[in-house]
């Protein structure tokens, strides 16, 4: 579980996160949605500790990142996995080496143990015939699978995904979404996902935070988001004329 309390973050004079309070529960896919530039990536990177918050608190199962000593920080770091928007695979390493990298870096496992664990997650994300390939030689969907495998190889408690669907076709997107959701349930991970893909929102939105200009303006799940009258949400969800027409047809609302 991750508790966020009145989180604020500015760059130079620009206030990007304006006091966000929410709770992300374990075993759930928590979504952050919002328009481009609303602060989703900054939010995720602040949770990860890449950006240092100006004020507010982030508690990881009660542990406040800011007050931990270096050793505890390192431990907490190894409990986090991250899937980047562009996958961010190391292009000097093949698929296996990419996935095994966190283990090689942070565990005392032998090469044989690493190999076994890597194969286990490769099977889990259903990567077929790719072990020795370089990232540039595989498709975007496969790169995402590798990125997910690398993120979960060290059994994280917390998994962060920045727009896991960007650059994927709708069908592959759903497969990747479902994979992330399955893994979240299976290992009881606290998963936080950035997205502006409405399909994902409906498919795996167990808890949704809507960000607008750095403020959290709405929270709920995928059923509630379809019913709400919140103007910002309606505006975001029914972005095209076609969708607005459908909404009018079903609800009689304008």
């Amino acid at each position: 579980m991750i508790e966020v309390k009145d989180l604020k973050k500015s760059f130079d004079d620009k206030e990007v996160l304006k006091g966000i309070t929410t709770t992300y529960e374990a075993g759930k896919t928590n979504l952050i949605i919002g328009q481009s530039g609303s602060g989703k990536t900054v939010m995720l990177k602040t949770l990860l500790g890449v950006h240092i918050p100006d004020s507010g608190q982030i508690l990881f199962d009660g542990r406040d990142f800011a007050t931990l000593d270096p050793n505890e920080k390192r431990t907490l770091r190894t409990e986090m996995g991250m899937v980047f928007q562009g996958s961010a695979l190391f292009d000097s390493m093949n698929v296996e080496e990419n996935i095994g990298f966190p283990l090689k870096m942070f565990t005392k496992k032998s090469n044989a143990e690493i190999r076994d664990r890597v194969q286990e997650v490769i099977d889990r994300v259903k990567l077929i015939d790719a072990n020795k390939k370089m990232p540039s030689e595989i498709s975007g969907g496969m790169q995402k699978r590798v990125a997910i495998a690398r993120a979960i190889v060290n059994n994280p408690k917390y998994l962060f995904c920045d727009e896991p669907n960007s650059g994927l076709d709708p069908k592959t997107s759903i497969v990747i979404d479902e994979l992330i959701q399955e893994i979240t349930h299976e290992y009881n991970i606290t998963t936080v996902i950035n997205t502006h893909d409405m399909n994902s929102v409906l498919q795996i939105g167990e808890h949704i935070c809507f960000l607008k200009d750095g403020k959290l303006v709405w929270e709920g799940n995928s059923e509630e988001i379809m019913k709400t009258d919140n103007e910002d949400i309606v505006d975001f969800v029914y972005s095209s004329e076609l969708l607005k027409e459908i909404r009018r047809f079903h609800t009689g609302k304008k």
Partner: protein, 246 residues
């Protein structure tokens, strides 16, 4: 101007960061070998090629300018040796390396920045500056070998051009090479080379690491990196020459 000073400050802070939170030795060792292979071994071919022909041209030019009969021919060998050891190999070759090594370093680190690979390292709790720049810095310790090779081949090129072109006899060239030999000149040349090696590893890393934007900016960063690496080399060359020889 203020931005330049800020950048210089940022550069020195980066130098300190390189040594913090070191990466596991087992992994670092492989990275170092890889960088030596890429940056040093990979440069030998072009350096040998350039050195041979520039050594040859320097000798021919000197011969053509020293055609007064009262000047002894062996001075051609002497002059060629001095220009190659003192300036051509350490300074000129380093500027060319600013293009080859420098743009490789800037574009590889810059690409990692724009594709979030650096963020990925950071998230895993790795110090990206140590992981990426330290092995290049260690590899650059072997850079003086490149320059030593360049000196030998440059002088060899002069020897071949001088004798084959009929400018002077081979024995006269060798006599000139040994004439008035000052060992400190070699020391001076290698002090310069070590400093240039350090610049070649760190300045391009700086431009790659702190770049912003996308793929287009990687190209721009490489160009900027080449310009500033060359400027740093030229200025250090001036300062070191003034300090060590004057």
């Amino acid at each position: 101007m203020i931005k330049m000073l800020a950048n210089i400050g940022k550069y020195f802070i980066m130098l300190g960061e390189i040594f913090r939170r070191p990466t596991k030795w087992r992994i670092m060792r492989n990275l170092i070998f890889k960088e030596i292979d890429e940056l040093i071994i990979g440069s030998l071919g072009i350096v040998a090629f350039l050195s041979f022909f520039i050594g040859a041209v320097v000798t021919i030019q000197t011969a053509l300018n020293l055609n007064n009969p009262i000047i002894p021919k062996y001075l051609i060998g002497f002059t060629a040796r001095q220009s190659i050891i003192l300036e051509f190999s350490p300074t000129f070759v380093s500027i060319i390396m600013a293009g080859r090594m420098g743009s490789y370093i800037t574009s590889s680190i810059g690409t990692m920045r724009v594709t979030e690979q650096i963020d990925a390292l950071e998230v895993m709790g790795i110090n990206p500056l140590n992981y990426l720049v330290f092995p290049k810095l260690i590899a650059s310790i072997t850079y003086p070998f490149v320059i030593a090779l360049s000196m030998f081949i440059g002088i060899f090129g002069g020897y071949i051009a001088g004798s084959l072109g009929g400018y002077l006899a081979a024995e006269e060239f060798v006599k000139g090479l040994q004439d008035d030999f000052i060992p400190f000149h070699i020391v001076y040349a290698f002090i310069k080379t070590a400093v240039f090696g350090f610049i070649l590893a760190t300045v391009p890393s700086f431009y790659g690491y702190y770049m912003e934007g996308g793929a287009l900016e990687v190209g721009k960063a490489s160009t900027k990196s080449f310009v500033w690496t060359s400027i740093a080399i030229i200025i250090c060359n001036y300062i070191l020459t003034q300090m060590l020889l004057a």
